[in-house]
Symmetry: C2
Subunit: 324 residues, 2 copies
């Protein structure tokens, strides 16, 4: 089992380190936060300065996982270029669009693959991390034309060891999808929370389930919401335009005929799509990673809503939703 070097030990990085050790891997970490470093060391984890962590990654051919806030990534990439210039590299950033570019600029010789576990809580820091955070979660591992197959397998193996399943998808498609199911929900929750609060104390006194559910993610720290939404600007803009068009149509229908059927039925069908996806049966498919077009095959599986659930030698074991 490949060893793992985690840079950044907040909620996600800390959980990766815990899960990797829990899976029996050799793993160590580094963080710029003294608080997180002390807490992690006190819990018995192997915490060292970043330069040492990266040098050890070279010696051990480890997978390096960058799990620092988006604003600190460039700094860490410079350290990677200095101490582990050709390492296997992945990240856990919620927005991948600019990542390959930054890697290309600061650490061009690394074998990089983008990663994004779809898990989290509104809490943050090492103290919030758990080895179980990724259990049952989707973990995107990107499959672009220039993706290094060894890096892909290394990152996907780690995701599986963390209890997640792997969704293989090119970075651009990931960004478009998460704009719709993660970033747009935050924007609409912000709009709803503001409109509700404009109703004054009476509105807050009457608020029940629908307003509570619809605004829950606005309890998250604004900096985190801003970093992920602003970081996915182009794809989010498209999703917001879609929402604006639909909300404008609802407005028009309400003003002219008073009928919201088209809006509500589309919403009902959309929610049904989510529930259908979760209830759907899946067919098992094997993809030989030694095939030259393996990553393309995996991308098709990802686009169809499929996932990789494990490995058998060089074969990726995937599940693809069954059309019926």
């Amino acid at each position: 089992m490949r060893s793992v070097c985690v840079i950044g030990l907040g909620l996600i990085g800390g959980s990766v380190l815990r899960a990797a050790v829990g899976a029996g891997r050799t793993a160590w970490g580094a963080t710029a936060s003294d608080t997180d470093a002390e807490a992690a060391a006190a819990s018995g984890f192997d915490i060292v300065p970043a330069a040492d962590a990266l040098r050890r990654a070279v010696a051990d051919d480890a997978l390096v996982v960058i799990a620092v806030p988006l604003t600190a990534i460039d700094t860490v990439l410079r350290q990677v270029a200095e101490f582990a210039p050709e390492c296997l590299l992945t990240d856990v950033a919620s927005v991948i669009a600019d990542q390959p570019e930054a890697v290309g600029r600061y650490a061009p010789a690394t074998r990089y693959v983008g990663g994004h576990p779809m898990a989290g809580t509104s809490a943050s820091g090492w103290s919030a991390s758990t080895a179980e955070l990724f259990h049952g979660a989707a973990w995107v591992v990107t499959t672009d034309v220039d993706t290094d197959a060894t890096a892909w397998r290394a990152a996907a193996d780690l995701a599986i060891d963390c209890g997640a399943h792997v969704v293989p998808v090119p970075a651009g498609e990931h960004d478009a999808a998460v704009a719709r199911i993660s970033h747009l929900p935050h924007v609409l929750a912000a709009i709803l929370a503001a409109c509700g609060a404009d109703g004054g104390p009476l509105a807050m006194a009457l608020a029940a389930g629908s307003f509570g559910d619809g605004t829950r993610v606005m309890g998250t720290r604004p900096e985190l919401v801003l970093a992920m939404c602003e970081g996915n600007r182009a794809a989010l803009l498209e999703a917001v335009d879609d929402a604006l068009g639909r909300l404008g149509a609802a407005r028009g229908a309400l003003a002219s005929t008073g009928a919201l059927r088209a809006t509500v039925m589309a919403g009902h069908d959309g929610r049904a799509s989510l529930e259908a996806h979760r209830a759907t049966k899946a067919t098992r498919v094997l993809v030989d990673l030694e095939d030259g077009d393996a990553l393309e095959e995996l991308s098709v599986i990802g686009a169809d809503g499929g996932r990789v659930i494990g490995f058998d030698g060089t074969m990726a074991v995937a599940e693809v939703p069954t059309a019926d």
Copy 2:
């Protein structure tokens, strides 16, 4: 304790009947649904034809509670006018705007007060009803200039007996507030669900907490969502315009500078308003219902986010959030 006659025995009406009997009141019900009637009778409740139920309400000076779907209200009001033309009358409809008009047209001699318990589940019918549905919930009892004080007290007493607290507010202010905290959340959830599903199987495979929370209410039966949203057309239009303006501003900021800070901070503050309301301390206030301006006093308490939590003789015991 005043007896209670419930017309309509679905989720809300059934729960009112159960809670009224549970509070030790004499209560009986009627419903046009054979399924609900048989199930309620089998549970030991006193179920009779609507005409008989209303005649008994006259004999017993009972409070009549209309709990039928919005589309059936006119029919029931005609029955009320025929069999109990001067009864104490309230309802549990989620939209009150048109209700006084319909009462004025079909049953003008009744002593009517609007009611709206802010409780519910996505399930429906007698089989979903429980005596505990209203525990801890807000229950609007309207306080318009022409509201009959006896009817107000009767409806508020029932709400308290059902385990709810009473929010006293004129019908128009109720409609404006629920447009923002109940109907707009449904419209935005519909928009979000449709935009998400447009992302295809990949988006559904990646959907996690924020999309799940933001679209949950779209699991509700579309007819129920349509009835309440379309029934509150004027107030909802204003709320949708507010949301459109805010979403347009977010779109503009994202397109021009890429900055969403204003949107996200307003949303964060809005959610904080909700949490602050729930955590706030309250001062106890007494309102003598025999005062000529008691309903006006109560309206002010409602507008300030306050509530009536019980009665002591002719005094309403209210709690008003403490500014600090």
